[in-house]
Symmetry: C2
Subunit: 501 residues, 2 copies
């Protein structure tokens, strides 16, 4: 009886959206694309429009009518919803969005993302992702070549935090392959090392991987935010004396706040001496490798065992594009992560199953993250991308020079990358540095200015406290569309917003 | 000197792609979108076109010219590349793509993905993702309501494997909060339980999380592939007798191959008795909760502590859309994963910082995965989505009935979900079941047919061995555009491809 009921049901028309009308589906998508062009690509990138249309959460909830109901809505309504979603979203492509380590909009990368979304496949087998399996390998090979490796392995991960976790997991597996089966309780206590300026994902990763945050030994940095190799040495000895087994150092190339580059050669020497895995978290700074002028900042990176590099940051590839690169040629990734699921990685396929790269990862389905970068690279060429990196440095230095000319701006330090950290000192605090509450009062300036700029929608720039320093702004020059005029705007706007403080 | 050089460089025009010409950028994107409409949305979904254009890897490498060079390429060349990428990619939206647990193309979901990609933001703070922070919460609330919870927590993860890992990590943290800081070595040996039909991500996750695959105790299943609660009881006692601490059971709602649903009520009883965290991996079967007719398959799911559910599978939301849902209301996610990075989660913001959900996850940047599902839901309504689920069941049952009418098809078992597992028995093997090499010869049929269908591009369907059974096909009815004609095609095509075997 039940079966009969089902079969009768199957007589009905396919329930393809828009009632199975392919013309309507096409029309909807064309309309949505038109909205994207008008509202994001054109208005979103225009300096004369707002970066964001601030609404209080409760008001925004009302405006968006987020509730999901039983009844569907007509196309007109859906288009209106797309417009509203865009209207109240932050325009990260806007020339005055300086808030994160990503910004801007590369049309080729976006084109790659649209093609990726339309093809909607998973990166695990040659069978269903032939183009992308080969393309990922080619893109990773190119990134490895820039690191300085003529061979190796790698994979795109869902973000730098997970790339960093992979490195830690691979390092412990290489030293203790038993770990995969028997777990950490079968191992001695482990210790890994990173600087106090490292990204927070190192500690998060240590917790997630079962090592615990205590296993992360925090190395001191110099006044520029660079790891001090001598302190690394000291902590390694200390860990050993405590009965822990050091196994990995995570150096940072381009720290999150200060943009500092750890001294990789000296750190590699330490790692070599102690037989430690050297991971370089170059999620932010890796793209500097494209610049002949500036790649010296990463000198020594070729001595690493693994590198995390996010082209979605300085190269504008789009979230997310995070490569984990490995010097290993022994199939470590697959040995460490593989489980040989027989329904997916059949061994009796009619092609070389080494092309089924899905068992290299701890995910099953994995998004295609290579096409956007590949297409942008094809369009720009390595030279075009190098020009962008050089331009970002040049604009950062221009900003520094301009900032020094103005009263009321104080650099936290001379930058060596495109993070420009500075205080805006409002009129009422100028010349009051010796006042006992100066630091406290200065620290309250950035949050106020941030609120003002967001509520006006004129600009977005991040701030944070840092060590003993109170809140300061971290300007990030990453959007390749930026010009000197945008740097001038930043300074003018802060002066305007803060003139009454 | 160096600074002067930089400043001079900054005089040059912005290096926005396409030489800073916004009109050219728009034109490129319009052209690419036109290609997507023609080649994917129109041809890719047409039954009269090929599912795939098979090429051997070496030939495909040549055709694609993958190498990344110093010189950039002109727009015409880039457009040609987009056409080639699409041409040689598998059309997962094709009505004869039955190969994975995802397929089809929902225009509203794709619209949501295009808007998402154009806005290119990260889901971590209300500051830069106001719409999506609120929207994610609303979508998760709706999914939780379908599970049967009026409160709780959750987050979208990059795939079901990572959702499952989260559940395991949360369960151990809840029991042993010390684990985050001190790691697994500070804990007694732990044991988790799942069935032999579970997804391979459970073991992968156990290895990654440092527990080791040995910590996963594999519970027997019945002939339908469902976990046997009595065997779960037995293994829990065994683990305890061995000195391990049971802490989690991962039940599966919709197993990967057979589409089996574990008996959640009975398993929940066991968990309750022993005080164990009940996780339900409903990555595949979760969408059945939308159907009043079929949701009884998941009876008891409301007793779970956590649920993984991937709307990118049966609901066609697009890769990836994977929700981890929690019954917890004690902020467990944030306590377990949080690290309070001061540069991102400033506490002196001008809005309620509880809206900064980024510290719930182990990622830093996190893609926006809610919009595609939200927009599709708004368009279809819960009713439209329910019709789809019912239609998929109905078509699966239609296929079963038709298959039984034909010589040469043998069901592995009656399905209870939309996975239809069967052998195609070619003419030369019919009536030879008693022959000693029957099983071995039958097992070689599916790989041959798979090669033939892929090389012709007529269809794609997965196969695998399973336990003591040789290779059989696993038909997945997921694409909402499917009709009875597509089911008939599947059977006709296998007969045609296998007539000489």
């Amino acid at each position: 009886m039940q079966i009969k009921y089902f079969v009768l049901m199957a007589d009905s028309k396919p329930v393809f959206s828009l009632d199975g009308d392919p013309m309507a589906a096409e029309a909807l998508l064309r309309d949505v694309f038109g909205i994207v062009v008008d509202e994001v690509i054109r208005k979103g990138t225009s300096a004369s429009e707002k970066v964001c249309e601030w609404k209080e959460p409760e008001e925004l909830k009302q405006l968006l009518d987020l509730e999901l109901r039983s009844q569907g809505e007509a196309s007109e309504q859906i288009l209106a919803r797309c417009r509203e979603v865009i209207r109240y979203s932050v325009k990260t492509c806007h020339p005055h969005f300086f808030n994160q380590l990503f910004s801007g909009l590369d049309p080729h990368a976006l084109a790659g993302r649209i093609v990726t979304e339309s093809l909607n496949t998973s990166q695990y087998t040659y069978e269903i992702a032939p183009v992308f399996v080969l393309m990922e390998e080619e893109v990773l090979k190119k990134l490895r070549a820039l690191v300085g490796w003529s061979s190796g392995d790698g994979v795109f991960c869902p973000g730098g935090s997970i790339s960093n976790m992979y490195a830690v997991n691979l390092a412990r597996y290489q030293r203790y392959p038993d770990c995969k089966q028997r777990g950490l309780r079968a191992l001695p206590p482990l210790a890994l090392f990173t600087s106090k300026e490292c990204h927070y994902s190192i500690k998060k990763g240590a917790a997630f991987l079962g090592l615990g945050t205590d296993s992360v030994r925090v190395v001191k940095t110099d006044e520029r935010g660079k790891m001090i190799p001598e302190d690394l040495e000291r902590l390694i000895s200390l860990a050993e004396a405590e009965g822990a087994v050091p196994f990995l150092v995570s150096a940072t190339s381009g720290t999150t706040v200060l943009g500092a580059f750890d001294p990789l050669e000296a750190i590699a020497d330490v790692c070599q001496r102690h037989g430690l895995w050297l991971h370089v978290d170059a999620a932010w700074g890796g793209s500097v490798l494209l610049s002949q002028t500036h790649r010296h900042l990463l000198d020594g990176i070729q001595r690493a065992d693994s590198v995390a590099w996010n082209p979605h940051k300085l190269l504008t590839a789009g979230l997310q594009c995070s490569a984990l690169l490995l010097r290993d040629t022994s199939n470590l990734l697959k040995r460490c992560h593989g489980s040989q699921a027989s329904y997916l990685f059949q061994q009796d396929k009619f092609y070389d199953v080494a092309l089924d790269t899905g068992d290299k990862v701890v995910q099953c389905g994995r998004r295609v993250d290579c096409l956007k970068l590949w297409l942008m690279w094809k369009a720009q060429g390595g030279q075009g991308l190098e020009r962008r990196v050089n331009q970002a440095f040049a604009l950062a230095w221009y900003l520094v020079e301009e900032l020094k000319k103005r009263e009321g701006f104080e650099l936290v330090m001379e930058p060596e990358f495109v993070n420009v950290c500075f205080w805006f000192v409002p009129p009422s605090l100028r010349g009051k540095k010796e006042s006992p509450d100066y630091g406290e009062r200065l620290s309250k300036v950035a949050p106020v200015l941030k609120e003002r700029m967001v509520k006006e929608g004129s600009m977005m720039i991040g701030y944070q406290p840092h060590g003993t320093r109170g809140n300061f702004f971290r300007m990030v020059v990453a959007n390749p569309a930026l010009t000197r005029a945008d740097m001038d705007f930043l300074l003018d706007e802060l002066e305007r917003l803060g003139q009454d403080l």
